[in-house]
């Protein structure tokens, strides 16, 4: 079992790396269609499949529920990110976004190896609720990272059009409207999951009693993310805030989410070290 998990890990990482290179080559291509455009999503799909195989076999081998360990949680969020991208690209012209998704998936897959695989244990808290909390947060993170990538591409494309300096590179990026729509739909999907994560997180905090500085910062950032993304969605619905403002709001939210993840990783690395 360990051998399968290791092989799936290395092959998955290789497939993600190949996908990242191919997406980049396709993005750097000046015109016309190339084999890289066809092979890149296939490589990403293969990478995601092997990644899933790695998570399943490694968690079975180590007898740890994937969502109860930060190691596997990080890995899973990358898997969700890659999976969502592969689904969305069938509906929207998002080929260029793959150049961000593939390296992110690779980074998370490899980065998770440096984080301890120990199970979370919170006394006095239902295990089912803990799994729900982590799963919701993980899925939300996957959605937000993808929304952030769409937002970043929107800003690059919008700037180039506003400055009237369109280049062959920006001509290859998805259209502004497609990026804006994709970002909005990802936020709409991810927001309920984040809400669930925030609510369950608040419940745990009340059970655990007084928290340390890092926990407080993490909670504050979690709430800030939730408020920011809620604001983006509300302002879009109420006042027609789209495009640039929506992209900046989403990126701010993604920054908060990334900081929360980093704090978890730092804490976990410190604990295992």
């Amino acid at each position: 079992m360990e051998g399968i998990a290791t092989a799936a890990f290395y092959l998955g990482a290789a497939a993600y790396a190949a996908a990242a290179v191919l997406f980049f080559l396709d993005l750097a291509r000046r015109e016309g269609s190339s084999a890289a455009a066809v092979v890149a999503p296939v490589a990403l799909g293969v990478g995601a499949t092997l990644h899933a195989a790695h998570v399943v076999t490694a968690s079975l081998f180590s007898r740890i529920c994937p969502v109860e360990s930060l190691h596997f949680s990080l890995s899973l969020s990358a898997l969700i990110l890659a999976g969502m991208y592969l689904i969305l690209r069938t509906r929207f012209r998002l080929q260029a976004v793959g150049a961000v998704v593939a390296p992110l998936a690779l980074t998370f897959l490899i980065g998770a190896q440096f984080v301890g695989a120990e199970q979370h244990s919170i006394t006095g808290v239902s295990r089912l609720l803990l799994i729900l909390h982590i799963t919701a947060n993980l899925a939300g993170v996957g959605f937000f990272l993808l929304a952030g990538a769409a937002g970043a591409f929107y800003l690059v494309q919008e700037r180039s059009l506003k400055e009237k300096r369109p280049t062959w590179l920006t001509a290859k990026l998805p259209p502004l409207d497609a990026l804006d729509r994709t970002e909005h739909r990802l936020l709409l999907t991810g927001f309920p999951l984040l809400t669930l994560g925030v609510v369950t997180g608040g419940f745990f905090a009340s059970r655990l009693g007084p928290a340390g500085g890092a926990e407080l910062l993490r909670s504050a950032l979690g709430y800030a993310t939730w408020i920011l993304l809620a604001l983006v969605l509300v302002m879009r619905a109420a006042a027609g805030w789209r495009g640039r403002r929506s992209a900046y709001g989403t990126l701010a939210g993604v920054l908060c989410v990334t900081t929360v993840i980093l704090l978890y990783v730092i804490k976990s690395t410190g604990a295992s070290g």
């Binding site: 015109e31 016309g32 369109p166 001509a171 259209p175 497609a178 789209r242």
Partner: protein, 462 residues
Amino acid sequence: MIVVAGLSHRTAPIAVRERIALPKAEIPRVLTQFVARPAIGEAMLISTCNRVELIVAGKNGPASELSAVGRDAVEGLAALASGVRQHLYVHEGVDAVRHLFRVASSLDSLVLGEPQILGQVKDAFETARVAGTIGGCLHRTVPRAIRAAKRVRTETQLGAGQISVPSVAVDLARQIFGDFRGKTVVLLGSGEMAETVAKLLKTAGTRLLVVGRNEARVGVLAAAVGGEPRGWADLSAALTEADVVITSTSAPGFVVDYDTIHGLRRKRRGRSLFFIDLAVPRDIDPKVESLSEVFLYNIDDFERVVGETRQSRAREAQHAERVVVEEMAGWERWAESTQVTPVVVALRARFSRLLHAELDKSLKGRLKHLGDEDRAALAIMLDAALNKLLHAPTAHLRQVVTDKDFESYRVEQLMNAVAELFELDAEPVSVPSTPSRPAPAPAPDAEGAEPSRRRATGTNGE
């Protein structure tokens, strides 16, 4: 070697080109007619709106007399339509190959770097292949031209960017909206360029509203571009619905000002708005650009993008010409190796004939007691010895002809020397005439003028 004969936008006006243009379904039959002519053994035909070119090789392959092949090609083309003969040109040998490489690479196109020509060359080759009119010469040459064109597309920016104001406008609109279905375009004022953009967007699936002060003129314009006529009083409503606004009025001041667009923001709910201002003086207040999700391009902006693209294409054309020269070198190696093949074949035939004659003599004399197995073994041994004997000189000959420092006339001298030394003239194999080496790359210009020598058959030729 090959010959290219035909006419293009450089030598014939559209009135002539459309006379000779062939429907795709007709091409296989015409190709069959061409290869039925006395000198032509292989043929393919590129027929586009800008050119009709026949690429042919002789019945004797590389050894064919090119001038006869060229004459046959011209006669065949002239027979296709009246009044085209004086517009035809002919390229032979290396010039023909270079021309084909440049055509496939879009270096001879009306619009440098346009992408369609490569597909058209591929289609022409496939059509000829299916029609059975492709032989060794074209099979070795056309795929190399396609490879050169692919390299030009991937290694240079010759095809990057847009090249006319309407195409720039539509491409920019596509960068904003992607899919035009369900989008609304508002056309304010008339003008050739504005109407072209409106028609292009209408064809792409948009809804087109034509707004103007003069009801009668608006009706006529709307009918011409396939839009819905609207009065001036409807301008605000039209701007609320609009995704793209094309303006080309003769108004002395701004027709759409900042306050109007700012005031519509809430109603528009943040939808992107693309202004294409083609009027001089300008119709759109430049301040609207400061609003988010509003994009404004005026005629100067468009001209700058077009100009940058044209300059960039002229620069890239030089790079593309270098790619063509590199690919030509590969073809040249093959062409020169065809000189060696008949000599090597003749050499092998002569040695084999002599050795087997000696063996036969021995087998009828002192070795007549040998059985069939031993006789066969001896024959095999002779062939093996022959292979070993000829390996070094064959390899050396091939190396010499592909050595770029070895002059063409010296290659010919060497071949003649080998033929004389071993009395190969008696052998039933012909030695082809030496193809000339390609000239250095021409200095490309923005017009992409044909740089090589070209023989025109009529008074209007180059």
